[in-house]
């Protein structure tokens, strides 16, 4: 079994086109090694060069990339392999589980066919005949806990977790010695993530495969890897045993990464997301808002049914909810549990079934015309992916002013935009007026989205996974911003998330949603520390934690 060794690897990308930035270094002089049968995690934020490094192991980089240094697989330098040899190495010796299984599977072929493809390209004595290959596919599906029947399914017929399993089965097909997993569980919810991680762990220990795993989440790496390397801006920050990196990091950057994901039940992180951001000085006489007793949004017996081609699917089932003014509520659940549908319904974007009663500030939710437009001023939405939520062609000023223009704001537009940007802590606001989204970082973009919502001076924000697509260091900043908005402006918020740590960080109350129903709700401490419903317990157990690495 070969070792995988990176010796002083540097990779630069040559850029071209309208935004030519010349040569961009992605990886700078990294030396790492993965001994046969070992497991190594690479952590880092987006743009840290971790995927580029991993792809270089199989020479899968685009033509515009230039590599210096050596990538050794056993005794051979990957760069020196002829194309034919390289093809033999790819998949048979080292294989990759790509990021985002939904996009890496061919939508017009069955899963079984796609696994077979790898076997046909690398025929060995074990699967020489057609029949033996079919058997091998069955065997592989069994390894990843998928029923053999699924071989005839198309990717769209599988859930996210099942697709990821199929991807792993494909990676295992030719019995490789090394598996490179690039963010294998990102975009999966906690329960599925736990299943996938457990499965990878089991495979690694049973078969002695070496694993190189990439993730932005230290706790995920801690459960699967013996050692962790932390990367930042293409450079290696720290390498060490997982447990030490997670609990006793030497470098400040690693400390910050490790602290970004809170431990549920730890009083130090309750209502205090970890952030580098400095508290803005505020007038000591200013009013401080907190959760009040006044009910702002109330839902009673809310049902939402989707009708498609004769089938009907009940996405939200008999939900009753009370949201008080100044309250931050976290709506927690797996993907597909109906959280987003519920949020869209509360916003009036999705019609509820007859008999459902939703009232905002004592009045029923308007459904059309002027009343609906006025209601839009009261409740605003913050979406998951800020890069998608901003029109790439509009400047920050225009994006924030959009709501004011739509609502025919009578006052001073410029002053309102400036105030909104400052409330979202983009200071000085003037500096950002002319910027377009692609010139901003992920965290700044999310602030612009929040500023755009604040501009129309709403009473309530509904945030759909507001930090799920942001880097760990930005996560805390956005969360503490939400807390401050409540404190300073009295904003009510409903935060949708699959991340229980987030609820622990900022929410007053938690509602747990499962298959369209709210199975448990109450104050955060009660629900998270003393869960009553079996599903809540499962969710809590599935959250990856650093503690496990010790075992």
């Amino acid at each position: 079994m070969p070792d995988l060794k990176f010796e002083n690897v540097s990779i630069t990308y040559r850029t071209s086109g309208r935004n030519d930035r010349g040569e961009v270094p992605a990886v700078k002089g990294i030396s790492l090694d993965l001994p046969a049968g070992g497991t190594l995690g690479v952590a880092g934020e987006s743009g840290s060069g971790k995927s580029t490094l991993a792809m270089s192991a199989l020479r899968l980089l685009p033509k515009s990339a230039k590599l210096s240094g050596r990538v050794m697989m056993g005794d051979t330098d990957v760069a020196e392999l002829s194309f034919g040899k390289l093809r033999a190495v790819r998949w048979a010796e080292a294989s990759i589980v790509f990021q985002g299984a939904m996009h890496s599977l061919n939508p017009v072929r069955t899963v079984g066919w796609q696994i077979l493809e790898a076997l046909e390209l690398h025929i060995t004595d074990k699967w020489k005949t057609e029949k033996a290959r079919k058997e091998r596919v069955k065997e592989l599906l069994a390894t990843v806990d998928l029923p053999a029947k699924k071989a005839d399914s198309f990717p769209h017929e599988l859930s996210g977790g099942q697709k990821q399993r199929a991807m792993i089965a494909m990676a295992l097909a030719c019995e490789p010695d090394i598996i490179i997993a690039d963010e294998p569980t990102t975009a999966l919810d906690v329960i599925v993530q736990k299943q996938i991680l457990d499965m990878i762990n089991q495979l690694v220990t049973e078969r002695g495969i070496s694993l190189l795993m990439i993730s932005h989440d230290l706790s995920v790496l801690a459960t699967a890897c013996e050692r962790i390397a932390v990367m930042r801006n293409g450079e290696l920050v720290e390498v060490g045993p997982s447990y030490q990196i997670c609990t006793d990091p030497k470098e400040p950057y690693t400390q910050q990464l490790a602290a970004a994901f809170p431990v549920i039940g730890d009083p130090a992180s309750r209502m205090k997301p970890v952030t580098r951001r400095e508290q803005t000085p505020r007038d000591p006489n200013a009013q401080t808002f907190a959760k009040s007793d006044e009910v702002l949004l109330q839902a009673r017996g809310l049902n939402v049914t989707y009708h498609t081609g004769g089938h009907s699917l009940r996405a939200v089932n008999n939900v009753s909810l009370d949201l008080h003014r100044g309250e931050i509520m976290a709506l927690v659940g797996q993907s597909g549990s109906g959280k987003s549908t519920l949020a869209r319904t509360l916003l009036g974007l999705q019609a509820a079934d007859g008999g459902s009663a939703v009232t905002f500030a004592g009045k029923a939710l308007p459904t059309k015309g002027k009343a609906l437009k006025d209601f839009r001023k009261e409740v605003q939405l913050v979406l998951q992916d800020p890069s998608a939520a901003l029109n790439p062609k509009l400047s920050v000023y225009e994006s924030v002013a959009e709501g004011l223009r739509v609502q025919r704001y009578q006052g001073d537009e410029r002053a309102r935009v400036k105030a909104a940007l400052e409330e979202a802590e983009l200071i000085p606001a003037e500096k950002y007026f002319g910027a377009i989204p692609q010139e901003l970082s992920g965290g700044q973009r999310q602030r612009v989205v929040i500023a755009g919502a604040l501009a129309v001076q709403p009473q309530m924000l509904i945030a759909d996974e507001p930090v799920a697509s942001l880097d760990a260091s930005v996560r805390g900043e956005i969360l503490s911003l939400l807390l401050d908005l409540r404190k300073n402006l009295g904003l009510t918020a409903l935060v949708i998330t699959h991340d229980l740590g987030l609820a622990w960080n900022i929410a007053d109350t938690v509602a747990v949603m499962y298959q369209g129903e709210i199975v448990e709700q109450g104050p955060t401490e009660e629900v998270l520390l003393n869960p009553q419903h079996a599903y809540t317990k499962r969710l809590l157990a599935a959250a990856p934690s650093i503690e496990e690495a010790r075992a």
């Binding site: 537009e413 410029r414 007026f433 989205v449 129309v456």
Partner: protein, 311 residues
């Protein structure tokens, strides 16, 4: 930023400066576009060729005064003279210089090409956005109308239209414009559908935006690059359509156009009688101009759609 502290003047002055920034960026983007286009060899060849043709067509009255086309004044010039130093492109069956006819014909061919394309693009963009943006009954209806025009044999419809309406350049423009927009509409619709599903349109809706705001602010700018690239490609086919209709004798016979020249050539059986220049000159001219438009169109397409690069 002292302006922002004075509420009385803030709104106009404030938006003006923000608008200035926007304009600055647009100018920079346009300059960048021009720079990139100038590096595109095939596109530049097409553009320069077109510029020469357009300037020549515009200056036709000065280069070759209209009396050179007056048959009554050309009684002693030779008929069917082959290309020579005296008659660079030869003469036709009435002794007119072919190059003069080509020059005047370029005017009509280009005007019809551009006008019909603009008409087709305007209709195509509006219908495409409507079909993509509106859901349910309205969207379905618009889509059926597009489908109807898509399957209609456009040449036959154009023939019918130009024989029903009065003869003239305008009729030809309408005939071509009305029959060629459906393809554009489909392309625009699919782009609209993909933009429509982006989060920023949803965000806009939550802010209270109506159809008009979403269409003008978000959808139109997003489909515009596509429409522009499509435009240059359509001009070429519009010129061919114009030639076809004129060739079939449906154009204005009192005006010169490349299609009319081809029709005259056929009327006197130029190809079989050995008057090759009479057929080849207009034919090659059409091919070259259409090719030039295609080259420019492809270049624009590649610049606005970076994924096509290095293909």
């Amino acid at each position: 930023m002292s302006i922002s502290n004075a509420p009385t003047t803030a709104t106009p002055a404030g938006t003006a400066s923000a608008r200035q920034v926007v304009w600055q960026r647009r100018r920079a983007a346009f300059a960048g576009f021009c720079k990139e286009f100038s590096h595109h060899k095939a596109g530049m060849v097409g553009l320069i060729f077109l510029a020469v043709v357009i300037v020549a067509a515009a200056l036709a009255p000065f280069i070759a005064p209209s009396r050179m086309l007056d048959v009554t004044q050309l009684l002693d010039s030779p008929r069917f003279a082959p290309p020579s130093w005296e008659h660079p492109l030869g003469t036709d069956h009435q002794g007119r210089e072919l190059w003069v006819r080509m020059l005047w014909g370029a005017q009509v061919s280009l005007i019809v090409g551009f006008a019909a394309t603009i008409m087709s693009m305007v209709i195509g963009t509006i219908m495409g956005i409507a079909a993509g943006h509106f859901t349910g009954w309205t969207g379905g209806l618009v889509m059926r109308i597009i489908d109807f025009f898509l399957v209609l044999p456009s040449l036959i419809l154009a023939i019918v239209l130009s024989s029903v309406l009065s003869r003239g350049v305008l009729t030809i423009v309408i005939a071509i414009g009305l029959t060629s927009w459906a393809g554009t509409a489909r392309v625009v619709r699919s782009q609209t559908l993909s933009v429509e599903s982006r989060d920023y349109v949803e965000r806009s809706r939550v802010l209270g935006a109506g159809h008009w705001h979403i269409i003008v602010k978000h959808l139109l700018p997003a489909v515009m690059p596509l429409v522009l690239a499509n435009t240059t490609l359509t001009v070429g086919s519009a010129i061919i359509s114009e030639s076809t209709l004129s060739f079939l004798g449906l154009g204005d016979t009192t005006l010169q156009s490349w299609g009319t020249i081809l029709k005259n050539a056929m009327d006197v059986s130029a190809a079989t009688s050995g008057y090759w220049w009479y057929v080849l000159v207009p034919g090659i001219a059409i091919v070259l101009v259409v090719l030039a438009f295609t080259l420019v169109g492809r270049a624009v397409e590649q610049i606005v759609n970076p994924t096509l690069r290095s293909r």
